[in-house]
């Protein structure tokens, strides 16, 4: 137990915020399509054991920290305090719940100018049914540093519910380069509520790859604040819900200063009675001139019972910007299916080819290659 005042304050304030805010309901615009009552009332007990043991034998360059966040709060409080719960804006009950309850997660610190090429792969495999696990990660990339972080949520629990709450805060100092890949392949009855909150300084580059495959009910948000000129970000998303899966992505990019660029490209393939929600918001503040912002969401429905609610939004308060957005929902291209059929290719393989073709652009955006290949093979397994 950490007894320092700042920690106790953080936790008690979050608990009282949770009391005040409560969990969101469908009356909240941002939760309109995602009913939370299904599980917020279940009051699952807390997971008993930490689900992840970090590989401490890995030799990182001097000064790099990859360690449990709770340990870091004791031994490196000076590095934690300026950022923890400062990057994420605590606006709804799930945020407060996570802050009040997290007891697991990692702290990653990369000093100025240090570049780590090998991905830091955090694999969490849930082994216990009927529990809640509450994770918080904090990443601090100092000026000119470089890292690749993969958060990978798997499960050995099927046919039974559990709940994962995970919030990740990432700070990029000037010219830092961070690639963040999140692979969500939870059990088929799992609830997964997550947010990645990012702050970027000048000339930094952030690339987010979010892949949502598993879970019964998933809410996965990404909120990026471009705080200084020259910052750029990519938000690449793939989701493939089927059966009764529900997956909701909310993204927010805040262009607060001039000369920043953002690109969002989310694609979904839905089957069965699956439901997907995409809500993307680009905010361009007064004076954020020369902003370039692109936002696309494309969906393919493979079944007549599947449903998508997509809402790309631009809010622009500057006059010298290039912004584009668009959303589509459709079926597999009839002419392409016909072309493959005339080559004797059966309907199943033809569908597989066209699904592959639809997702290819997004898969290609994933670097490094080892992460890309892993994601591609998980997608192939999942779609088949």
């Amino acid at each position: 137990m950490i007894s320092e005042a700042w920690w106790v304050d953080l936790k008690t304030e979050a608990a009282s915020d949770l009391d005040k805010l409560g969990f969101p309901t469908r009356r909240d615009e941002d939760w309109k399509y995602s009913a939370t009552d299904a599980f917020s009332t279940q009051a699952l007990p807390r997971a008993r054991v930490s689900s992840f043991v970090p590989d401490t034998t890995h030799a990182y360059p001097a000064g790099v920290l990859v360690m449990p966040l709770l340990d870091a709060c004791v031994h490196h409080a000076d590095k934690i305090k300026p950022y923890l719960n400062q990057i994420m804006q605590q606006t709804h009950g799930f945020h407060a719940f996570n802050t009040a309850n997290f007891d697991d997660g990692m702290f990653i610190y990369v000093p100025e100018g240090v570049q780590i090429d090998e991905p830091i792969w955090l694999l969490y495999t849930q082994t216990e049914a009927g529990v809640t696990r509450c994770l918080r990660h904090l990443v601090v990339a100092e000026a000119g540093s470089r890292l690749v972080l993969v958060e990978d949520y798997g499960s050995e629990v099927y046919n039974a519910p559990y709940y994962t709450s995970v919030n990740t805060e990432i700070k990029l100092a000037a010219s830092a380069h961070v690639t963040h890949c999140k692979i969500q392949r939870e059990g088929d009855q799992a609830f997964h509520v997550a947010e990645v909150a990012v702050e970027q300084a000048a000339d930094s580059r952030f690339e987010s790859h979010s892949v949502s495959l598993g879970g019964l009910w998933t809410r996965s948000d990404t909120v990026i604040k471009l705080c200084e000129p020259g910052a750029s970000c990519l938000m690449n998303g793939l989701y493939t819900p089927t059966d009764h899966q529900h997956v909701d992505h909310h993204t927010v990019v805040k262009h607060t200063v001039p000369n920043c660029t953002s690109e969002q490209d989310y694609k979904g393939i839905l089957n069965g009675s699956a439901r997907a929600v995409f809500n993307g918001k680009v905010l361009v503040s007064h004076g954020a001139q020369k902003t370039e912002a692109k936002q696309y969401n494309k969906n393919i429905l493979l079944s007549s019972q599947a449903e998508v609610d997509t809402k790309p939004q631009l809010e622009i308060y500057a006059d010298d910007v290039v912004c584009a957005h668009g959303a589509t929902v459709g079926q597999l291209d009839e002419d392409a299916l016909f072309y493959l059929a005339t080559r004797g290719i059966d309907a199943e393989l033809a569908r597989h080819y066209l699904v592959q073709a639809f997702l290819t652009d997004n898969i290609r955006k994933i670097a490094p290659a080892c992460v890309r290949e892993r994601v591609a093979s998980l997608l192939v397994q999942h779609v088949e």
Binding site: E334, A336, L340, A341, T342, R343, G344, Y353, Q356, T360
Partner: protein, 250 residues
């Protein structure tokens, strides 16, 4: 091998073919010419079974079998091949695996054993050489980023690899420079055989200088308005389609 009788078809309720009669025997090459919008490409798509078109009258008999009830892949497996005017791009799928799936599905329908990867590679490499296609073609994604000419070569590569009984080549010459045209024409000529029927759909007479048809049919407004031997192409080249259309109206 192909007998089309009084074929009528429509798309979204609009009549596009208004009574076509055509007989193709094994070994023959027929050219179908005509102005834009005359129904040439429509006829090709209907023969291959495009689901957007509805056959509203007449019949298509192929090798003694009614063709209309067959799905596009069943037609392909029965030996009907359509070379597309606008081939579809399929990013993320390597040309070689697409070609192998296609060849093997048709072999399977014919009761032949599928080719394994090694056998297929030597088989397709030989076809590439014949068509002067660089081997790197095989490892690119299906038609993705291909130039117009490259797409057409890929279509002819499929024609040569699939060895269909009946080939319909839709505007195979469009977008080709002279060198590419002569290579592609060489590929088509090499596929001429006493067992195979070929239909070439073309707007221009140019391709017919390289691949000599046995018959030429001119299509206008969903009907064949004139049939003749290869000399008809020369008259058309000189006088244009309007000559026939005016004659029709007179």
């Amino acid at each position: 091998m192909l007998s089309i009788k009084n074929l009528q078809a429509s798309i979204n309720g609009k009549a596009v073919l208004k009574g076509i009669d055509l007989e193709i025997k094994p070994g023959e090459i027929h050219a179908i010419m005509g102005p834009n919008g005359s129904g040439k490409s429509t006829l090709s798509k209907i023969l291959a079974g495009h689901p957007a078109y509805e056959v509203t009258g007449g019949s298509i008999t192929y090798c003694g079998q009614e063709l209309t009830p067959l799905s596009p892949s069943e037609r392909a497996q029965a030996g009907v091949f359509l070379s597309f005017q606008y081939p579809v791009e399929i990013p993320g799928v390597a040309n070689v695996s697409f070609l192998k799936s296609s060849v093997n599905s048709i072999r399977k329908a014919q009761g032949k054993a599928p080719m394994d990867a090694m056998d297929f590679l030597s088989f397709i490499r030989e076809k590439c050489q014949q068509l002067e296609i660089d081997e790197s073609f095989l490892y690119r994604n299906v038609n993705e980023g291909f130039s117009g000419g490259e797409k057409k070569r890929n279509e002819i590569l499929q024609f040569v690899a699939l060895e269909p009984k009946l080939a319909i080549l839709d505007e195979t010459d469009s977008g080709l420079d002279i060198d590419a045209l002569s290579v592609i024409a060489g590929g088509i000529n090499a596929m001429r055989s006493p067992e195979r029927g070929i239909i070439m759909v073309t707007h221009y007479q140019r391709l017919l200088n390289y691949v000599e048809p046995d018959y030429i049919h001119v299509l206008a407004d969903g009907k064949i308005i004139k049939s003749g031997d290869k000399s008809l192409a020369l008259v058309l080249e000189e006088k244009g389609y309007s000559w026939l259309e005016n004659m029709e109206q007179a």
